[in-house]
């Protein structure tokens, strides 16, 4: 076997309009290894991956694939070079069968379904997967979809497969199947890059693990060296640990939201309370159950259990129920889920209050602009132009607009999901100040975040949700960065 690394990365740098995200990455992936990639949110993992799969181009530095310099400019170029990524939402042709998906792009001239199913069955059994080749892709389970995507990359002779939090949507059993498949690929000489926040998975699976911090490689550990203490020590960025903002505590005695035995298909019954003026931080690995709480409270999925808003029992079966009882969701993917990019900033923020702005059924443009201006003033939105289309605002200012949209309706309970993802560094502090101000004014805030800095700066209490249940809940003072990271990484299973 060729002993040269399959991918070599030398002094790779990337900056986004002056903000340095990767500050000189040097690392290599060997042929036939499972290589873990660890790091806090914002450490540069996803930027690195996006450069490898040619979603972004590097600002400087060099990537060599099998010794040859690689300059790709589209995801297809990365695919052609044999590098592919599997994200949590697999891309399959849903109305086509497993066999058709697996062989897509390599069909023979004459389409013979039986022969295709035979060929697919051979490939699947070779890698040890038991999926019916004649089943429709849309009828598969989440785990099967992911494994079919992996099989597809295998069949296309990919050399490097990048997995981004692959177990996020899988049960423990399904994860075991995935690990077996990954090991099979390794035996076939493929290189797997494995990104996960679950340390025990990395310990179990990976030959080596590289830890990124603040845009740099801090260490590459061999299998035996991967343990919680070492990884925690390496991942936590000491220089950033002296926080600039802290929550002095605005919690009032009144309970704004109480949840009793709230459970979903992927969340064991959970109970908690949020007081007025309080910021409750919730964290945990992606897919660990944290997003189930967010979805249940905003009316996006079915749940069982009881919810009380200001003492009254309520049901939240749709987003409009959530709106009526005063819950506002500020989702992570604001472009898709919270904003109307082609409407103006003022139209966006006045949407929830159009009923109040209209007189005799007519909405006055001047009133809409005025409400836009109020949000701009209160949240310091830049540019201060309510008549400009939302899509021309930066990430941070878009986030302010989403907040402003709910502020103008005076909601009682705000659920923030990763409020600073995709927000430029300068605006992060402003968003934190806005959130603290909202708490001071009496709003109850639930902060869903995987950034420890954020949680420790803003929360009064922190809840760690893991494996579908609450693992730890303590006041902010009971956590420091190390213990919070340890609580998130630790898992009771295995």
């Amino acid at each position: 076997m060729d002993a040269r690394p399959i991918i070599e990365i030398r002094d790779l740098r990337k900056d986004f309009s002056g903000v340095h995200v990767l500050k000189g990455i040097d690392m290599s992936f060997d042929r036939g290894e499972i290589h873990g990639l660890l790091g806090e949110n914002g450490a540069g993992k996803s930027t690195l991956i996006k450069i490898l799969t040619c979603v972004y181009t590097a600002s400087s530095g060099e990537i060599r694939i099998e010794g040859a310099p690689f300059h790709g400019h589209s995801p297809k170029a990365a695919n052609d070079a044999g590098v592919g990524a599997v994200y949590q939402d697999a891309e399959l042709a849903w109305n086509m069968t497993v066999a058709e998906n697996l062989l897509l792009g390599s069909e023979r001239r004459w389409i013979d379904r039986r022969a295709m199913e035979r060929e697919a069955r051979d490939i699947l059994s070779r890698i040890g997967l038991d999926i019916d080749p004649a089943a429709r892709a849309s009828a598969l389970t989440a785990a099967q979809m992911q494994m079919l995507t992996l099989a597809t990359l295998f069949h296309r002779k990919f050399k490097v497969i990048i997995l981004d939090e692959p177990t996020a949507r899988l049960s423990g059993r399904e994860s075991e199947l995935l690990f077996a498949l990954i090991r099979r690929f390794k035996a076939e000489g493929l290189t797997i890059v494995y990104i996960s926040h679950r340390l025990n998975e990395v310990k179990l699976l990976c030959d080596r693990a590289t830890i990124l911090r603040d845009g740099r490689v801090v260490a590459t550990l061999a299998r035996g060296e991967i343990d919680e203490a070492a990884v925690t020590r390496l991942m936590v960025n000491r220089s950033a640990s002296d926080l600039e903002i802290t929550n002095p505590g605005f919690a009032r005695p009144e309970v704004a939201l109480e949840v009793k035995a709230l459970g979903t298909a992927k969340l064991s019954p959970t109970s908690f309370r949020v007081h007025r003026g309080e910021i409750l931080g919730i964290t945990g690995p992606i897919g660990g159950g944290m997003e189930q709480i967010e979805k249940a409270l905003s009316g996006l999925i079915a749940y069982h259990g009881e919810i009380f808003a200001e003492g009254r029992p309520v049901r939240i079966d749709s987003p409009s129920d959530a709106l009526d009882i005063g819950v506002a969701l500020i989702p992570e993917d604001r472009r898709k889920q919270a904003l109307f990019p082609n409407l103006t900033m003022a139209e966006n923020v006045s949407l929830p209050i159009l009923d109040r702005l209209s007189r005799f059924g007519m909405v006055s443009t001047a009133d809409i602009l005025a409400s836009g201006r109020r949000v701009i003033e209160r949240l310091q939105v830049y540019p201060a132009a309510p008549g400009i289309k939302m899509r021309y605002f930066s990430g941070g200012n878009q986030q302010k607009a989403v907040i402003g949209k709910w502020l103008s309706r005076d909601q009682k309970i705000y659920i923030f999901s990763e409020p600073t993802s995709g927000v430029d560094v300068g605006a992060i502090r402003q968003i934190y100040e806005i959130m603290l101000e909202m708490a001071r004014d009496g709003a109850a805030i639930i902060l869903m975040s995987t950034s420890f800095n954020e949680l420790l700066s803003l929360s009064e209490r922190i809840m760690v949700v893991h494996s579908g249940r609450v693992a730890v809940e303590r006041p902010r003072a009971g956590f420091d960065r190390d213990s919070l990271l340890a609580a998130t990484l630790a898992s009771e299973v295995a």
Binding site: P75, E91, N95, M96, W110, I111, T141
Partner: protein
């Protein structure tokens, strides 16, 4: 333990939709109706007609239905490819007209065989233009093909000056295509069968049909699989236009003339047939066999009701009702979690 052995107990652990998938848990009757419902309705209507009129189920009358549905069937089969690729083609009716006019104008100059080839080439060029507009020029299928439709309508009027173009009575071969018959069976009905077989093979046995389906299903997955997405979208428009071109030639042959607006009326029928056809066999997406049965149903109803002297208004009401009922029940039977697409 192999993965196969572990798989079985892992399934069915959780009640959520994606976990419970893999098996169709709905009631057997629902499952049966999803696959056979539309065909059942077609059969019931056919049986009702044959009880009401002894003439209905004769070879000669079936031939009549096939003969009259020829143009619509070809348009609809072509349109099936475009809809399967995820777009719309609203220029199909006018391509039929253009093809018949070009053919009728060329016959005196070039002779029938060459005229037919010219008409088919012109049609395919129009299809190519449609395809390029919706891919490289990024115009939506609806808007792009409406634009082409207006261009063609203008061209048709200019070419004919608003009058029909006659085909000479001495063009025996050309007139045989649309007017020949052997006993009860019209040549055109046989050709309909031949073109259906060709369309069926293109859709189900050749890579072009396979890729058109894949692109329409999930263009992003197709792109990442290294499939040249634009090429297959354009191909679907060329195929659609080619079928329209053939229909135009037969239309000119049948009436020994080309009308300045001959094909315009078929557009909406074709759309009805494609979407009715998508419900047949529970596929939920357009397929050639379903389309053909959809067209057959529309023309069978028209034929049967004409025999009983039912007013055309009643016929339209019936057709509209069946289309809505078939597509509507199908949509309800295939419940998605959240429905937020309104095109």
């Amino acid at each position: 333990m192999t993965i196969a052995e572990q798989q079985a107990p892992a399934a069915g652990a959780s009640p959520s939709r994606s976990e419970a998938a893999g098996r169709d848990t709905s009631h057997p009757l629902v499952r049966f109706l999803r696959v056979w419902g539309t065909i059942l309705v077609i059969l019931l209507v056919a049986v009702a007609f044959s009880f009401a009129s002894p003439y209905f189920l004769t070879v000669s009358n079936i031939n009549n239905i096939l003969f009259s549905m020829f143009t619509c069937a070809l348009l609809s089969m072509g349109l099936t490819f475009v809809v399967a690729a995820g777009s719309f083609d609203l220029s199909i009716g006018t391509i039929v007209t253009t093809s018949s006019i070009v053919c009728a104008l060329c016959i005196p100059v070039l002779g029938a065989p060459a005229a037919i080839i010219v008409a088919l080439l012109v049609s395919m060029l129009i299809g190519l233009a449609n395809g390029v507009l919706v891919t490289w020029f990024r115009i939506s299928g609806i808007v792009g093909t409406i634009g082409v439709m207006f261009l063609l309508e203008g061209g048709n009027q200019y070419l004919t000056g608003g009058y029909q173009v006659a085909v000479g009575y001495d063009e025996h071969f050309f007139r045989w295509l649309g007017q020949g018959r052997y006993g009860f069976i019209a040549v055109k009905s046989v050709f309909l069968f031949v073109f259906f077989i060709i369309a069926f093979i293109i859709a189900n046995r050749l890579r072009i049909g396979h890729y058109i389906n894949a692109v329409g299903d999930n263009p992003l997955a197709a792109y990442y699989s290294g499939i040249p997405v634009y090429r297959w979208v354009i191909s679907s428009f060329v195929l659609s236009a080619l079928f329209c071109g053939i229909a135009g030639i037969f239309l000119a042959s049948t009436s020994s003339s080309a009308q300045p607006t001959g094909g315009a009326g078929y557009l909406l029928e074709a759309f009805a047939a494609v979407f009715l056809g998508a419900t047949i066999l529970g596929k939920g997406k357009p397929h050639v066999l379903g389309t053909l049965l959809g067209v057959f149903f529309l023309y069978m109803v028209s034929n049967g009701m004409t025999q009983f002297g039912v007013d055309s208004s009643a016929r339209n009401i019936f057709n509209g009702f069946v289309l809505l009922a078939a597509v509507g029940t199908n949509a309800l039977l295939n419940r998605e979690e959240l429905h937020l697409r309104f095109i």
